[in-house]
C-alpha cells in the first residue's frame, strides 16, 4: 500500500489510561492512517483531527443531520459513529464533494432559491442531496420526504429547501437523460 497522505491524530499521552486503536480510512480521496482513542466520535475525528469543519455537531444524538457525511457511498450521521467504526471505509465530507472552486449546480440552485439562511445546517443538506442524486431519486418520489426528514433547519421553514431540492433532482435527471427539459 502506498504511504498514506496524512498521518494524523492528536497523540494521546502515555499516562492517560485510555484505550487507543489504530485506524485507517480514506477521506475525500486521501488515505488516513493514525491512532485514536477508542471513544472518539467520527464527527470529532473529522472536524478536529482532520480539520474538516464543514460538518457540524449540532445535537450529538443523530436527530438533526448537521453532521451528515457520505460513508461507503451512503449518507450517514457522523455523530452516531465512532471513528473506529469507519475503519477501512471511504468517507466524503462536503469538502470532498465541492467543485474545485465556486458553486456547483446544486449549490447554485440553493443560492438562487435562498434555501439557506444562517448556513449552519447547510453542509448536511447538501451531502444528502448529492446522495439522492447518486441514487437517481425522482423529485416527486415519496423518498424525497424521507431524506428531508433527516435534517432540521431552524431558519428557513423548509419551503425554499423543498423547491431547491426538487429543482436539483430534476436538473440531475435531465442531465443524466441527456435531453432537454
Amino acid at each position: 500500500m502506498a504511504a498514506p497522505d496524512w498521518t494524523l491524530g492528536k497523540p494521546l499521552r502515555r499516562e492517560w489510561d485510555e484505550s487507543q486503536t489504530a485506524l485507517r480510512m480514506t477521506v475525500n480521496g486521501k488515505q488516513v492512517q493514525t491512532v485514536v482513542a477508542d471513544r472518539l466520535l467520527l464527527c470529532d475525528f473529522l472536524r478536529d483531527n482532520l480539520e474538516l469543519k464543514a460538518l457540524k455537531v449540532a445535537c450529538g444524538e443523530g436527530a438533526c443531520g448537521a453532521c451528515t457525511i457520505v460513508i461507503d457511498g451512503q449518507p450517514a450521521r457522523s455523530c452516531t459513529l465512532l471513528a473506529l467504526q469507519a475503519e477501512g471505509a471511504e468517507i466524503f465530507t462536503l469538502e470532498g464533494l465541492n467543485a474545485p472552486e465556486g458553486l456547483d449546480q446544486v449549490q447554485q440552485i440553493f443560492q438562487q432559491q435562498h434555501a439557506l439562511q444562517c448556513g449552519y445546517c447547510t453542509p448536511g443538506w447538501l451531502v444528502t442531496v448529492y446522495s439522492m442524486i447518486k441514487r437517481s431519486i425522482h423529485p416527486d418520489s415519496p423518498e424525497v420526504a424521507q431524506y428531508l426528514s433527516g435534517h432540521i433547519c431552524r431558519c428557513t421553514g423548509y419551503r425554499n429547501i423543498w423547491t431547491a431540492v426538487r429543482r436539483a433532482l430534476g436538473a440531475a435527471m435531465d442531465e443524466s437523460a441527456g435531453g432537454e427539459k
Binding site: S19, T80, E143, G150
Partner: protein, 348 residues
Amino acid sequence: MVIPGPGFADILVGAKHALSIRVLHPNVLKDGFECASLVHLSSELQMKPSIFKYVRAETADHAVELLAGADSSARILAGGQSLIPALSARSIKASLLLDIMRCPGLDEVSHAPGEITIGAACRQSRIEFSPVIQGSIPLLCETLSWVAMPQVRSRGTVVGCLAQANPGGEMPVVALALDAEFNILLRGDVRQRMPAGDVYAAEAGARLPAQSLIVSASFRTLTAGEGWGFSEVQLRQGHFALVCCAATLQLDEDGLIRSARIALGGITANPYRAQLAEKALIGESADNDSHFREAARLASEERPWPARSDLHATGSFRSKTAVAAVARALMDARNKCSWKTGGNHGRS
C-alpha cells in the same frame, strides 16, 4: 425499580452525579397528564462518551468468548445508531464494545423453505431495497421505510434494532407479526433459537441469555395471496412511533378471513401480538370494514401492560390511536391480498 442486571438488556437509567441511581419516577405535567420518563434521565449534561475499550470481533464465536470474559456492562456494537448516542449522553456506560460488523457470515441473507434469515451485520437500507426481501417479505421493507430516516438506516442494522428494543420501535413489531426467531450463539458454540414472542415477553427490554450474541433473525416469508400492512402514528415524519401496527391477512376463495396476524407497538414499551383480535377476525368477511374496526378496538384493549405515557403522548392517547393504526394496517393488508409470491408489489 429496574436495575440493569446480567443477561438482560439495560433500560436506560438516570444517574445523579454518577454516584446514585434514580429511575422511572412518575412526574405530573400540566393538565394532570402523568409521565414516566425512560430515556435521558441523567442529570449530567455531557455529550462525549466515557472511556471504554473497543474491540473488533473476528468471528461470532470470538465475540461470544470476549463477552464471557467481560463484565456485565460489555455490549455488542453493530450499527450503533441507538448505542452511540446513549453512550454520548452517558445514559449508558460500557466497559467494552464488541464490534461484530466484520465477523464472517453475519452479513448474509439466506433462505430456507418459508423463511428468510438476516444476519446481524445486515444494514437496514440494504434489506429495505433488497429485491429478495421485497419479493418475499415486503412487510419488512415497508416497515423499514418508517424506521428513523434513510441517513440512519444506512448504518443501523435490522438485528441491532431488534436487540435494542427501543420503546415503540418498529422492528420488534414486525418481528412479532412475522413469527421471527432469533438465532443466538452462546459460548462453546451453543446455539439457541428464540421466538420473538419470548424475547419481548416482558413489559420492556429484550430478554436474551446472558453473554449471548444474536447472529441472525429468521422471518417467515409471506404466502401467496397473503396481504400485509403497516401503519404508524408519529408526531412528525422522522420522529419516533407513538403507536404502530404490522398486520398480515390471508383470505380464502370466498373472501373470508382465514388467518390474521396483528402486532401492536408503541402503546407499550414492548410490542405484543393481539391474539384475541386475530381470532375475532377469522371467518369474517374481509369486505366489511367494521370487522377490522372491531378487531382494532380489541387489539388495543387486550394490551398485556398499561399503556405508557411519556413526554410525547399519554397512555390514553396511545390506546385510542392504536385503534386507528390497527384498522388502517388491516385494511391495507386486505387491499393487498391478491399479491402473489415472488412479485415485487412495491410499497404503498
